[in-house]
Amino acid sequence: MLKAQTRDPVAFTRLMLILFALAVLWPGVRLSELNPGVLLHAENRQQIAAFTSAFWPPAHDAEFLKLLYEATLQTLAVATAGMAFALLLAIPTSLLASRALSLRAASRGGRAGVLSRLLRMPVRGLLIFLRSVPEIVWALLFVRAVGLGPTAGVLAIAITYSGMLGKVYAEIFESVDQRPAHALLQAGSGRLTAFFYGILPSAMAEVVSYTVYRWECAIRASVVMGFVGAGGLGQQIDLSMRMFAGGEVASILLAFFGLVVLADLLSRFLRGRLA
């Protein structure tokens, strides 16, 4: 392996990268004070057992199920509306931020000009700003601004997720084969049509799968935001936990599991159609 005949020129770089990753991760474990041992202390075990034993049987009386149904719908609605608003902002910004639409890159083997790189920087900065503040913080802010209820959740998801979607879309557009779009640009096509004919067909499956995954994340996020008063399943789970109603918590978690399964099935179906 170390003889000149059989040596892979990148082997040394790879080894260094692995050592570097280990050197970086180890202090992280120390800093986060990770110690799985505390889970096994007798006192803690008792607490966990007492809490989870109340989960069975899940609550299933008609009144609670109706409440659960409405909360689930509200969570779904918050996530979906939030995603819709996020897409409104994410699609144009991803087109602006992506190098894939650069006219100059088409005639320079993919390297964009200095000016266009400078112009893309503020867009990238905007996307970073949008996603750098966690949605829970936006939710707290909006709960104060517009009052308790799902509106705060929708706005918080719209803002944070437009930043994430815009960044990842831009990167997906750059990661697919650029030659079809370059060929079209070299035949005089406009940049938007070159994008639709040259980039989108290859990027579509990835874009759809990521969007559905983000929708799933938005469902989770809307549950978390329920804890700060943005409605939906989260608010319900908060109430049930305060009342030590373990059965209700279990039912809500089951509904939650169902939603994620639904998102996964949808993603599989759409990917199957697009592949």
Binding site: A106, S107, R108, H182, A183, L184, G188, S189, Y197, S202
Partner: protein, 264 residues
């Protein structure tokens, strides 16, 4: 004058692809470019197609200098030039009909282009050009399902549909069998003659170049070795063009030239 190259040079980093190439090609001429692999045939065609900017010298197309124009004016100029790629860059999931109709994106507005993606606006037009190449039945097939030779024909169909004034072809028949290659080249030449289109094609098969094109340009190591009518090309000229010291001892070369085309 359709193409006027004056002392044009092209570098890819440290590698010199073309060196002081001077060429004049008038409207309606049909020219073949031949030469060994890596001689700069593709670079020359990409230079003429305004796909790359010359690093030295001057390029004029239709009496205009494309790299002195504004980006918008250059795109308008590019709409008049069609380039057939050796391995046509088509997204595997795109349907043949869309790939062919995309030839006219330079002439269509953005709205028509986007609408055409939703519903193909000129199916008869696409079927007509594909039928000439024997591919009419593949109209609604995805590009990813075609073979290398079929993809090359889709690439030719797209450029024929574009109806450019200058038609450039980079090894347009390299993945086709001899009969199909002959037919496709004849079609390109007929199309060029009938519409007064200037045609420049690079070919690795010398006999095809001599049979179909009135003017032949030989390129070696980025420089023009000869530029003359096809019937003035002699065997010693070809021997000098393809002379290869490195592989001189190996007997059967040239005939086994197999070009691998990626599927999409």
């Amino acid at each position: 004058m359709t193409i006027d190259l004056h002392n044009a040079g092209l570098r890819h980093g440290q590698v010199r692809a073309l060196e002081s190439v001077s060429l004049r090609i008038t409207k309606g001429e049909r020219v073949a470019i031949i030469g060994p692999s890596g001689a700069g045939k593709s670079s020359l065609l990409h230079l003429m197609a305004t796909a790359v900017q010359p690093s030295a010298g001057r390029l004029e197309l239709f009496g205009e200098q494309p790299w002195a124009l504004s980006a918008r004016a250059r795109q308008r100029l590019r709409a008049r030039i069609g380039l057939v790629h050796q391995a046509p860059p088509l997204p595997p999931r795109q349907r043949v009909v869309t790939a062919v109709l995309a030839g006219r994106l330079g002439q269509w507005g953005t709205l028509q282009g986007v609408f055409n993606l939703v519903y193909p606006t000129d199916v008869p037009g696409a079927r007509e050009v594909l039928a000439e190449l024997g591919l009419a039945e593949k109209l609604f097939v995805q590009c990813g399902q075609l073979s290398g030779g079929q993809l090359q024909r889709v690439g030719i169909a797209r450029v024929l549909y574009q109806r450019p004034e200058l038609l450039l072809a980079d090894e347009p028949v390299s993945a086709m069998d001899p009969v199909l290659a002959d037919h496709s080249l004849a079609l390109l030449n007929r199309h060029a003659q009938a519409n007064g289109v200037t045609l420049v094609a690079s070919l690795h098969a010398v006999e095809l170049a001599l049979a179909h094109f009135p003017r032949v340009i030989g390129i070696r190591e980025g420089q023009v070795m000869f530029d003359c009518p096809a019937d003035a090309v002699t065997d010693p000229m070809l021997d000098a063009l393809y002379a290869n010291e490195q592989f001189a001892s190996q007997p059967a070369q040239g005939a086994t030239l197999a070009v691998q085309i990626p599927r999409c």
